[in-house]
Amino acid sequence: MSLKKREHITTKGLDDYFLGIYNAFKFVRLFFREVFKPPFEFKEIIRQCYEIGYKSLPLITLTGFVTGIVFTKQSRPSLVEFGAASWLPGLIAIAVVRALAPLVTALISAGKIGSNIGAELGSMRVSEQIDAMEVSAINPFKFLVVTRVTATTLMIPVLMMYFAFVGLLGSFLNVNQNEHTSFIAFFQSAFSPISFLDVFTGLFKSIMYGFTIGMVGCYKGYNASRGTEGVGKAANMSVVISMFLIFIEEIVIVQISNWIRIA
């Protein structure tokens, strides 16, 4: 995964920075080359989906529920002041579907799943388990990287939808407690301002975030340097870089979806 040693073109730091970007692109290119090439590791993909998706449910449930309640509580006073308390379900739904669900799910997943992938592959690298696969004529990239990136790309959108549902449920409980709105009336009111573009953008964002989290975690773990310090660094950098890229992607996708909305 690294270029051949050569003299510095600029400074060592700048050279290493661009070399890192070049190697990351090579890593992504290798993923697209391997993902459509048989044999397919379906069993391992399903196992990873279980590890990444199912095992994240308690955390997503808690965060989604609390986010829904807190956001509703915080928004109510302003809307009540303008006599627009009935807009609360719609406002919450737009906020959850367009921004909160994709972004919060992605940030939680970057912390939980990204660090886990970085640490797991990093420790496999330093304990020579990846080398052991290579010498057994097994393609470790296909077995470890392709399966994990596929699983995160598939599972983050599912977790995002689940987060949105639980968040709206939390919001409903708060609205029901204060305004005595029924379940059906709340959800009718919540879904009426939601457009296809909102749902599509939320899903698209989640797919992008899932791919980013899986790819960054795998890249950092797979290329971890020797020793336990390298494992910690890989886990840490997986989270930091994933979050940074998620925010960049958020800005770009929101801007594009706004252009589409205006057009």
């Binding site: 304990s127 388990q129 052991a132 010498v135």
Partner: protein, 257 residues
């Protein structure tokens, strides 16, 4: 399986290395290595830590690329073969890692099945089970079949690591520090296992070590690596009785420690 006697070692070359150089940045590790391994032969490479022993066998297994020189393994030049050929070649090479490198998330059975299932997708469940049980019998660890690597002792991990490579029936075995970190009694059992593997599986082996007991017990030939070059080669007694000062220093250090 038919056993091989030491006298049966055939003078057919399975590994031939000529003028091998390897460096990492400024650090020059191998400085012109020449080595030949014959069929059925156990060759021990002795040397201090950091002398390039592990780098040498990683080049033979295709994990590292040589900077210069020819590394011919079973008739294939490691430096010029493509990925497909390298995968084919790797099926014939067994690599026993210093820290065993067992897959932590898999049981002993799954560790052993893993390379077999992925390389022989046509095998039935019964055939796979039979192969797993056979190699476990060969390393005398049948009772550990359902255990996790974390539940095994250091010696057991080494033996399972060797069993995992044997399941693919390799022609060449590469042992990286097989007795490192083990007590003397366990070292003896590992040495015996290395000889059993040679006899039973008719393998040619390179054993990387700085353990003289292991070298004496397993080596048909011993090569002493120092500063990236072989400074002495021969049988154990020839190396042991050499007048070469650097080699004598290595022995003295071993006996003192």
């Amino acid at each position: 399986m038919e056993k091989l006697n030491k006298s049966d070692i055939i003078k057919e070359q399975v590994i031939s290395i000529q003028g091998l150089y390897k460096s990492f940045g400024e650090n020059s590790v191998l400085n012109g290595i020449d080595l030949t391994i014959h069929k059925g032969e156990n060759v021990v490479i002795l040397g201090r830590s950091g002398s390039g022993k592990s780098v040498l066998i990683k080049i033979i297994a295709g994990l590292l690329k040589p900077d210069k020189g020819i590394v011919n393994v079973l008739g294939m030049d490691i430096g010029s073969i493509d990925e497909k050929q390298l995968l084919k070649l790797r099926l014939k090479i067994g690599f026993s890692f210093q820290n065993s490198a067992l897959y932590d998330s898999m049981s002993v059975r799954e560790n052993l099945e893993f390379p077999l299932i992925r390389n022989s997708r046509h095998l039935t469940k019964k055939e796979i089970d039979h192969a797993v049980e056979e190699v476990l019998e060969d390393v005398h660890l049948h009772q550990t079949i359902n255990q996790m690597p974390s539940e095994l002792s250091g010696g057991q991990r080494k033996r399972i690591g060797i069993a995992r490579t044997l399941i693919l029936r390799p022609e060449i075995m590469l042992y990286d520090e097989p007795t490192a970190g083990l007590d003397p009694i366990t070292c003896i059992t590992i040495n015996e296992l290395i000889n059993e593997v040679q006899e039973r599986y008719h393998t040619s082996s390179i054993i990387i070590t700085h353990d003289l007991t292991c070298a004496k017990a397993t080596g048909d030939r011993v090569a002493m690596l120092l500063d990236g070059r072989f400074v002495a080669q021969g049988n154990f007694d020839e190396i042991f009785n050499t007048e070469e000062e650097t080699v004598k220093q290595f022995y003295d250090y071993n006996f003192i420690n």
